[in-house]
Symmetry: C2
């Protein structure tokens, strides 16, 4: 009898506690991007360090990750430090290092949620159900997209051989972990970064680019994430302004019954 | 002969360098909110510490501030630590303390901007010019709003005696420092937080609330900010989802000739 293989996301998130808020991890080739790992998996790693910390209180409310430099293949260490715990929030400082080199920094806020007045001001885009949209095919040149199933409603992978400049940079897709895995906060932190650079879409051509900073807000509690299960979530992303070597992008991640699970914002470097 | 009085923003931003990335500051009653100072001035303080640091390179690209607890009246210290400097970016870790108590934490990314392809995907809302909109009157119950001139186009200060639930939480206004002051990154960091809590607007009633985390992206270089001078900027803010004691808000700050100067995002606690 053999145990089922570990899911690639869980394999990536298996950090080893070293004590005093330090955690050891390792890059996996399955999550590789052009240079270093997929930014979303780094975001999930940083969040996971706080999630695994024995003194953690509450659930993720906000996560900011600053990508200071590429993570090299191999081991890394994350330091997760509690800066302050209040009645409803816990504030974390996060640093990922390889040896003495800082690869990424960040912060997280955890919070105790409680029932209050509620309102959904933004409503989910009207789209065909996931089952009515064909999964994207093809062999992406990097590994991490194989860890997801992408069902593009709008703005799919650009084919640079036939692409042209577009009037907007919006992408809208159903996405889930591949193989399927129940949704949780760490998985959502990674999914918030599944959008290829908006500059590819606007310009219809490849330009070297990389996320500099990423902030994700979690709007749903663990029960709502668990209720989503393994079904695809709807993900939307669009840029606001491209100038002087950088652009921003805002994204929303929706449950398939129309609940805003996360909003996420990032600034991306591009070369020319 | 007397020198002109120091502008209240410059008075607030005059940090005293203590060496090794430590800076001493002091709360000013002029910037007071209900409990502690206006969050925008705290954001400006943290950014200012990096701006004043002798090893700072480049201009602000992104700033995240996590409000861990109220800042008490009096002195505080900010620690601004360079985590990594690359060819185009510099990554900062920021902590504000009073004694041993952490009041706020954060991070900043500074960057070297350079000419590239550019595109404005989001366009400025069509509104009357600032001069055609009357400044808001009244005596706000706290001090910090007196440091700004507000010309509300939509969603002005709620009058809780006559307010009612609204279908959306959008506020749109022309705003500038009061008295007028040339725009720069620190002023913009503060202006990104001039919106009263969106939950007031949606519900038409007061509920205790406070910003937990704030992230601002700077899209313009120092020359573009200087070109804006003392003229009002257009500021827009709206929430996405209110639930379980928290809501998010996204904002855009525009120059009066339609350039997106900053986008800013926050999560706000509310009580009931």
């Amino acid at each position: 009898m053999t145990s089922p293989p570990t899911h690639p996301l869980d394999a990536a998130l298996a950090l080893q506690a070293l004590g005093e808020g330090r955690f050891a991890g390792r890059t996996l080739p399955e999550w590789g991007n052009m240079v270093g790992p997929f930014g979303g998996i780094t975001a999930a790693h940083l969040l996971q360090a706080a999630l695994q910390h024995p003194e953690r209180r509450g659930e993720p409310l906000a996560l900011t990750v600053n990508f200071a430099g590429a993570v090299g293949d191999g081991g890394f260490e994350i330091e997760a430090r509690i800066m302050r715990t209040t009645r409803t929030t816990q504030h974390w400082s996060l640093v990922q290092r390889q040896g003495d080199v800082v690869c990424s920094t960040g912060s997280a806020v955890f919070a105790l949620r409680r029932p209050t007045w509620s309102a959904a001001e933004l409503t989910m885009p009207v789209v065909p159900a996931a089952g009515q949209v064909a999964p994207a095919r093809g062999e992406p040149p990097v590994q991490w997209p194989r860890r997801y199933e992408f069902r593009f409603v709008e703005g799919g992978w650009p084919d640079f051989r036939h692409a042209r400049e577009e009037a907007d940079s919006r992408t809208l897709l159903w996405v889930r972990d591949e193989p399927p895995r129940p949704l949780d906060a760490a998985a959502l932190a990674a999914i918030a970064d599944v959008f290829y650079p908006r500059v590819f879409r606007r310009r219809g051509r490849f330009t070297p680019s990389g996320t500099i900073t990423l902030t994700t807000y979690f709007h749903a509690d663990a029960a709502a994430l668990a209720a989503q299960g393994e079904r695809p979530v709807l993900a939307v992303a669009q840029g606001r302004r491209f100038a002087l070597g950088f652009f921003d992008q805002s994204a929303e991640i929706w449950s398939d019954d129309g609940l805003l699970l996360a909003s996420s914002h990032q600034v991306v470097y591009f070369k020319e």
